[in-house]
Amino acid sequence: MTDVMSEAFGRELIARSTFSNEGVWLPLLAVHHMNAGDPVIRNKTFTDCVIEGPALVMPMGSTTFDSCNMGVAANPRSLMYKPQGPLLVGAVGLENCSFVRCRMVQIGFTGADAFLDELAEQLVAAQEGRV
């Protein structure tokens, strides 16, 4: 059985730039990046993946979500959190990552007010069938 906490597994995991048709446990991916000295997950493309938490993500740079299911919530704002300070601890930074047709499970979102408002508007519009 693969030891997912081993250094060898971690090095192999963070060296990948693409993930397709697979489940990705985001906390594990984040921890291996941190163990390698990088607190942010950068420049990855996830296609047709299930992205599993529990995790709060903070999209940065040109991170995009294309045709993704962002999670299940009657009120889409239940997926969102407003930082209370100028810095942020405990979230997973995603910089210049692309998510295509992915499904988010137990994933919350945080970031600047403008990002959260835009995401909320998009999710409510999708829920109401406006897009």
Partner: protein, 131 residues
């Protein structure tokens, strides 16, 4: 006598389903995975434990912290706090009726009701009083 700082060697918890955790190191996302069926970590006691993220803990009813290091707040407790924008808090590690005594958190954010966030924001930090 103060339990903090925790200077013992690393000791990974062998089981994540017990009621009392004493002097062990725990990844919070592993802990959540072990309690996922209940949807929350309920009724556990943590004494002298190091709890590691990345994760955001939802502080539920009955959860208490005694002599706790909440982690590097980078200048202000508010950097550890996130306000839920909806009526649920998805993507977090919910903890209800849990007791923390002499524990340390690493890379963990916290969320909860406005009253909880207010209390947490008032916790003094090593770098100075809460803003």
């Amino acid at each position: 006598m103060s339990r903090l700082p925790i200077n013992r060697p690393m000791s990974v918890a062998k089981s994540l389903t017990q009621t009392d955790f004493i002097d062990v190191d725990i990844n919070l996302y592993d802990l959540y995975a072990a309690h996922q069926q209940q949807g929350a970590v309920v009724g556990r006691t943590f004494t002298g434990c190091r709890l590691q993220g990345p994760a955001v803990v939802l502080i539920g009813g009955g959860t208490t912290f005694d002599e706790t290091n909440f982690g590097d707040s980078r200048g202000g407790m508010k950097n550890l706090l996130l306000q839920p924008m909806g009526d649920k808090a998805l993507g977090t590690v919910p903890m209800h009726n849990c007791t923390f005594v002499g524990c340390e958190f690493y890379n963990v954010g916290f969320t909860g009701s406005p009253q909880i966030l207010e209390q947490m924001a008032a916790v003094p930090t090593a770098t100075g009083p809460a803003e």
